[in-house]
């Protein structure tokens, strides 16, 4: 895992000192709210519907056990005993008090953490495949590249005031778990015909009010060219991106209006005009960064658990939540934060500490937050799976629903967010409760329900197999449905079904869709494949059929 060098540490501590002084000046009136607002946002502090909210950055979703314990400490000391894992792999606290935030940032800085790049029209915290460094299908660990992008983007003076926020996601696997086609820039580590490792650059993806699937900007970019090429792309966006209308300011709009061919030409021209030596990072520096992400010392000769002697409930959890690892004898463990009674992504401080202990005991002290609002222990010995599960049971974290219908992505919605138009948490809870039976979830199979409480789409509803958008009219919440969305390498925007539903009607409608799918699928066909085979109308008819 990356550790701050002296420059990182000095910068973060000086930034905290600056913010501490800014808060003092705000409280005594030397700074007005208009002056203070951009300063607090640069440090991840929002004023939400009911209170302040602090969003802490978790670069590429990876954190150490001591960092998770620090997040638990913050939640206990300054908030209400829990944190919320976001759809961008960060953690939010819903109830901080302004005067405490400098102390919170000081505590964070003591474990190499901060809240920079979690707000504002800058390059935001880079997100990443949560199985990085452990996935059997990856070419190399993408996190050194993500860390390089973090170092380049964090204080880049040219890109501190972009037309709009800018999100980058990276992966090194053919199976896209980072939703790279749904980001302003998506980067996939690939190998060319000559066997060289480089980058596939995707541009212009995004969700929000105008969902767009990203397109290829460069099919193969040599490693040395990464930062110059990103710099060129950002310059084109910064120069031509619209600033007159925030709803048309994202790069996806520029790419769409320019056309991918012309946009590519603009980038390539800018790239050709750059002096790469100004910014390019060579193999030696990349190798230095990569040493921070070196694989742990995996042991050999590990015997798999005798599953036949294990209880059924444990076997079900393994079937659902445990994934193959690149190293023989190891496994990737997904910890579900989708207890049907709780908000998706919420985790209490007791649970955080329990997970940190499990990470120390069984996963080299390291863990990941996922954009699906769960936690991953990336390197667990197969013969330790039972011990991990026992620990999760003790912490009430044993839900066996990863990638099933209970594993719902959900934004905070109207319950917390100032931008929301409707609640999303109660909808997620109602659906999770309806489908709570594990065997039923298992029988339904892979299913991603994603819920957003407004058109800004933080809940990624456009790419949900079943997407739900909460709206409000005349004081009444209602929910629109999209079907067939896909967040993976076969990315697709879901098809809008039509008129919205009340929450109660919605849950019934979803159950009708699910039951129809289960009856209509061929063999072990996934929901998405059945939907694509039968088409929109068949499902729409079922959705709107009276119960």
């Amino acid at each position: 895992m990356y550790r701050y060098d002296e420059f990182d540490a000095e910068f973060v501590h000086s930034r905290v000192a600056q913010f501490r002084d800014q808060v003092v000046r705000r409280l005594d009136g030397r700074l007005s709210e208009a002056e203070f607002r951009p300063l607090r946002l640069m440090n991840g502090l929002y004023l939400q519907l009911h209170a302040y909210m602090l969003r802490v950055a978790v670069p590429y979703g990876t954190l150490r056990s001591d960092q998770l314990r620090m997040l638990a400490h913050l939640a206990d000391k300054y908030d209400k005993g829990y944190g919320h894992v976001t759809t961008r792999q960060n953690m939010q606290f819903n109830w901080p008090v302004l005067s405490d935030v400098p102390e919170m940032l000081t505590d964070l800085a003591s474990v190499d953490m901060h809240a920079i790049q979690t707000s504002g029209n800058c390059i935001r915290n880079v997100t990443c495949d949560p199985y990085a460094g452990a996935a059997a299908d990856e070419i190399e660990d993408p996190r050194p590249m993500a860390e390089l992008i973090r170092q380049w983007s964090m204080l880049h003076p040219e890109f501190a005031f972009l037309p709009r926020k800018f999100k980058i996601a990276v992966t090194a696997s053919s199976q896209d778990r980072a939703m790279i086609k749904g980001h302003d820039i998506g980067i996939q580590v690939v190998r060319n015909e000559a066997g060289e490792v480089g980058y596939h650059i995707i541009v212009g993806g995004g969700l929000g009010r105008t969902p767009v699937i990203g397109q290829t900007l460069r099919a193969f970019l040599p490693k040395d060219d990464l930062l110059p090429y990103l710099e060129a792309t950002m310059r084109v966006y910064n120069r031509f991106g619209r600033r007159d209308n925030k709803y048309k300011a994202r790069i996806k709009i520029l790419v769409r209006e320019t056309g991918i061919e012309d946009f590519t030409r603009l980038v390539e021209d800018e790239f050709a005009a750059l002096d790469p030596s100004d910014i390019a990072v060579g193999a030696a520096e990349r190798a230095r960064i990569a040493t921070y992400f070196a694989s742990p010392a995996f042991e050999t000769g590990i015997k798999p658990l005798d599953m036949a002697s294990q209880p059924e409930v444990f076997r079900k959890w393994v079937d659902t939540n445990v994934v193959a690892h690149a190293a023989p004898g190891y496994a990737i463990v997904n910890i579900s934060l989708k207890d049907p009674e709780r908000a998706p992504g919420d985790v209490t401080t007791e649970q955080m500490r329990a997970v940190a202990d499990l990470a120390d005991a069984h996963s080299f002290g390291e863990l990941r937050f996922t954009h699906q609002q769960n936690i991953v222990l990336a390197h667990v010995r197969q013969d330790a799976l039972r011990a991990v599960w026992d620990g999760l049971v003790a912490a009430d974290l044993e839900d066996a629903n990863i990638n099933l219908i209970g594993d719902i992505i959900c934004c905070p919605g109207m319950d917390f967010c100032a931008l929301a138009t409707a609640r999303s948490i109660p909808v997620a809870q109602a659906i999770a409760e309806r489908f709570e039976d594990h065997d039923r979830q298992q029988a339904i199979g892979e299913m991603q329900i994603k819920i957003s409480g407004c058109i800004n789409a933080c809940g990624h509803h456009h790419v949900g197999h079943i997407g739900i958008l909460g709206l409000e009219k005349a004081g009444v919440e209602f929910y629109q449905v999209t079907l067939g969305g896909d967040a993976t390498q076969t990315a697709a925007i879901g098809d809008k079904m039509g008129a919205g539903f009340s929450q109660e009607e919605l849950v019934d409608g979803i159950e009708r869709i699910v039951d129809f799918y289960v009856g209509a699928r061929e063999h072990d066909e996934r929901f998405l494949d059945t939907y694509r085979r039968l088409g929109t109308e068949a499902f729409k008819e079922v959705l709107y059929a009276s119960a």
Binding site: L27, A51, W95, V97, L98, D346, D415, E472
Partner: protein, 101 residues
Amino acid sequence: MSTLKHKGKGPQAMTANELVSGLSVWMTTDLNWSRDYADALLTEDETVIEKMDEIAKAAEQANTVVGAYFIDTVDAKPARYRERFRTHGPSYDTADLISES
């Protein structure tokens, strides 16, 4: 002063957020601030509304509250759904489950 989608029709209330806590507050009948909407002053009296506006601006200047604005009310409740929601807080908060356990 921000009015959001305030139409200025019917009885008005003044709302804001406390600067330090960020919590929602409403101007009271004694022209102070309360976290309880039940204490809110609702009025159509233009003179009083003008006074409320002055006091809210002064409170912002004094760094007591931020983002003060008027809201429309109907039958003593905020007209807009969002504003009604602000009066009672989240319908779900994990903190409540923690305090129950």
